[in-house]
Amino acid sequence: MAENLATHWRLRAQRYQLVGSVCSKCAAKYFPPRQVCPKCRGTEFEPLRFSGNGELYSFTTLRSAPAGFESYTPYSVGMVKLDEGPLVEAMLTDVNEDELAIGMRMEMVTRKIREEDGERGLLIYGYKFRPAQSRAP
């Protein structure tokens, strides 16, 4: 089902730049950004752009996919523990599934997430993660 452009447009800072938020009261860092801090119930936040570097917390390879993603199977997805703290879930790219291992260094890249069908279908871009090309910090 084709979605409205606004659905994707309003998430552009998160999808393209990994912008989350930091609580002004208790300094807890969040990705995705939040409206209420679960730690201190604060409601004031500053935006925070995450580095996109982290470690692979877990991963799997999907053999069957939700509607809209079938043509990409099999594809790997993972949870990456960012150096700043939060976990992010994303597709993994530029890697064979048998090379994946918990603990490996990962970095964010911007890639096409999926293509909607049809003449008016959107091309949706966002973050994926790949094994770090540069040495760990």
Binding site: A67, Y72, Y75, L87, E89, R114
Partner: protein
Amino acid sequence: MREHWDKSLRELAVEATLAALQDAHVQDVDAIYVGNMLSGELTRQEHLGALIADQLGLGGIAAIKVEAACGAGGAAIHAAHLAVASGQYRRVAVVGVEKMTDLWNGSVTAGLAMASDGEYEAANGISFVGLNAMMMRRYMYEYDLVEEDFAPFALNAHANAVNNPNAMYRKAVTIEQFTQAKKVADPISLFDASPVCDGAAALILSRSEYLNGNGARAIQIVASAVATDTLALHDRQDPLWLRAVELSSIKAYAQAAVTPQNIDLFELHDAFSIVGPMSLEAAGFAPRGAGTYLARDGGISVHGKLPISTMGGLKARGHPIGASGVYQVVEAVQQLRGEARKNQVPDARYAMTQSLGGVAATAVTHILKGK
């Protein structure tokens, strides 16, 4: 529970509710609570409260749908229990129903992914089985386990389903079949995942003074507790601890004035093998990381220390999403009435059921007490 190609959502729901009314020897109820997740998405039908009341010939009474993803059935029972306990209604029906086989698989997978965070999990192509697979892989890594350590959960569920006429898979599974099964999302194989299917189950809840002399077979609900956790797995401080399971279990034990040691059987939400040990830990039946140990040597069988999935569980009885939580309570009632035949848990007095939504972002725990 199976692929009911010949029956629609309304037919499944009406059939189950009529059977429950007959079992309870009553003609009518003051309200109906419907547990369902995906009727809009998969059958293009919402507004199930009015639909089912109308189709039952009870048009005019109160009727609403309750949704809490895969925990919808448990949540509907909770809402119904509060309504009866408050004195607002004398007697109500709860029906859990899900019709999943009218659309092809990708649409069902996308529908189920709505139980997770739509903007940050499903939007990245991460299916519900994918989330459970990542949890299982990390759990195996942390506690130094292999896939076979989870086999007793699937084998137990299938062995128990053999004797359940309502079960989808009435076939025992061997350890060889388990280890050779195709991976769906590594490390989750076909035998680690519950099946997509159609089904409905129903209960009648009544205040004791309105049992109409039919109290002999009635089973008491002594606890009904709901708790929540972060919707997204990535937002958890500790993704290997099911906090909602812990919180709802603690609340339920307090309401029923029992401890885990008093529970004679536990119908847990075994949508995936990994949920079994993690639920046993968070609900206080096993130390952290030791949930799979409890399943060794028949510990979770009908005659074991803590019987689970006694009629096949979600794994083998089937997991028609909104119906599963109601099925669990129907099966607990069978056990406490002593009507579970070959699967009867000896001297069962307290039964606990747990219906989970998403990756246990909602946990609904009920404790029932027999005579």
